[in-house]
């Protein structure tokens, strides 16, 4: 029996929500990947704890900050890398016939942002338990963490699509392609999170936060425009 073709186009938002639900369901069914990611964060934090405990206790705040973001950066690359790579070419062709490419990239970005936000909050929690909590402005820190999660997700989603096309060792290629693009964002994030750690006046971080927001919008818009070309191949 031939499936009925729908004469009315499905709204973009419905396509996105369906794809998002599909991604979450897939993640839940293949719990090994999710578990691996959580263990990755956990064991990295634990290794940091062990190495700092050699020198007796907590790291100084600048080191705390730098390590936190490095851990998050690598966790983000690992988390996003599997997004496009775990899909087979047949699966991609199947999606291609069903939905718009714009829906795919937006759904993937949204999914990665939520995933990375979860990973970031978990990382912060573990970090606080093992390495202490020198944050003086927690609200700003968490808001910055959320901006960072969204920023990493928007940047790395398209990069992971590119790396998946290249085949071979995707994770290495993703780091090579993604890190230079992310350095400006990372600099801003580390600056704001340092301000939050030191409990400086929020007015000082305002400009950086606005720039971060604008950057997220630019990157998401460019990904939205470019992804259809990537998908067509």
């Amino acid at each position: 029996m031939r499936p009925e073709t729908n004469p009315q186009p499905v709204p973009l938002l419905r396509e996105i929500s369906t794809l998002l639900a599909k991604d979450f369901r897939l993640e839940w069914r293949q719990r090994a990947a999710l578990g691996g990611l959580l263990l990755y964060v956990g064991s990295t934090v634990f290794v940091c704890f062990l190495s700092f405990s050699l020198r007796g206790g907590q790291p100084p705040p600048p080191a705390w900050n730098a390590l936190f973001w490095v851990i998050l950066l690598f966790a983000a690359v690992n988390a996003v890398a599997k997004g496009f790579m775990q899909e087979s070419p047949g699966q991609r062709l199947y999606y291609y016939t069903l939905v718009r490419p714009q829906a795919i990239i937006l759904a993937k970005m949204l999914y990665n942002a939520l995933l990375l936000l979860g990973v970031g909050l978990l990382g912060l929690f573990l970090y606080t338990i093992f390495l202490g909590n020198p944050i003086q402005d927690p609200a700003l820190f968490v808001a910055n963490l959320a901006l960072g999660a969204v920023g990493f997700a928007t940047t790395l989603t398209l990069v992971s699509g590119i790396a998946a096309k290249a085949g071979g060792n995707g994770a290495t290629l993703m780091a090579v392609l993604g890190f230079p693009v992310m350095i400006p964002m990372l600099l801003l994030l580390i600056k704001v999170s340092k301000n939050a750690l030191d409990g400086l006046d929020r007015g000082l971080s305002q400009q950086s936060i606005v720039t971060l927001l604008a950057l997220n919008v630019i990157v998401a818009a460019v990904s939205y425009l470019l992804f259809p070309f990537l998908w067509r191949g």
């Binding site: 071979g168 392609l177 720039t211 191949g233």
Partner: protein, 252 residues
């Protein structure tokens, strides 16, 4: 007129000049037979190099005679930015209408940009060694330059990791546009936000605006900028012609 209005007018003019230069650059790179502009490039670069070493310059604190690096270092960065913009436009044209020729042009333009970027880093580093006492400092401007070169290094690595020509051309065009849009504007904004840069034109040393006031330096500087930009286009033309010929030879 208020300061903001003048700022907006200047931004609009520089945007128009940039767009015009990119368009003209593409015409020059693709042109055949005409070689007057190459003589102009040679004359401008040679003239600005000789004049740059000979003309009297103002004695400013810290920089002193090393101010002459303005005639060499800064035009190289101008040339790099111009030729990379040309590369981006070729990548956009490729996505619109794919052809091997546009891909080669985008690639060769990016390679010329890398060469000029390395030259800019080298001249800047040498200057910093004698003016600041270190080859490299954690300055926002310097970090920005390093990030720009890392991005184009990644572009070359990406190109190297494909077997299929069309796939390589399309995906690298996408990365070219994406990386440029995501990182390069910020590289111009970040040094201005952080505000604690030592680089001339920022807060630390006497700035570019002060040099600009000096009317003997200005014509030489502009000549050098135009000369180096033309040189970048010329280099791209030669290398893309060579690659196109190799391409045709392989096809036969």
């Amino acid at each position: 007129m208020s300061k903001a209005t003048i700022g907006i007018i200047i931004s609009c003019i520089s945007l128009a000049v940039t767009v015009g230069a990119v368009w003209g650059g593409q015409r020059l790179i693709e042109s055949r037979g005409r070689c007057l502009w190459k003589w102009v490039a040679v004359a401008l670069i040679l003239g600005s190099a000789v004049a740059g070493l000979l003309i009297p310059v103002p004695r400013l604190p810290i920089v002193n005679e090393s101010i002459r690096n303005l005639f060499f270092h800064v035009p190289m960065w101008f040339g790099m930015i111009m030729v990379m913009l040309v590369s981006i436009v070729y990548s956009m044209q490729y996505l619109r209408r794919p052809s091997a020729r546009l891909d080669i042009l985008a690639h060769e333009a990016a390679k010329t940009g890398i060469l000029l970027g390395v030259l800019g880093l080298a001249t800047g580093s040498l200057w910093a060694r004698y003016t600041w006492g270190a080859w490299w400092t954690p300055d926002p401007r310097l970090n920005a330059a390093a990030v720009a070169l890392l991005i184009y290094g990644a572009y070359l690595v990406l190109r190297g990791s494909f077997r299929d020509d069309q796939q390589r051309a399309r995906v690298s065009a996408i990365y070219n546009i994406f990386a440029f849009a995501a990182a390069i504007p910020l590289l111009f904004i970040l040094p201005r936000i952080s505000g604690n840069s030592l680089h001339p034109g920022q807060t630390g040393n006497p700035g570019f605006n002060k040099y600009d006031l000096d009317s003997t330096m200005r014509p030489v500087f502009y000549a050098a900028v135009i000369g180096w930009i033309l040189f970048a286009f010329w280099l791209t033309q030669v290398s893309s012609r060579l690659t196109l010929l190799q391409h045709q030879h392989d096809d036969q």
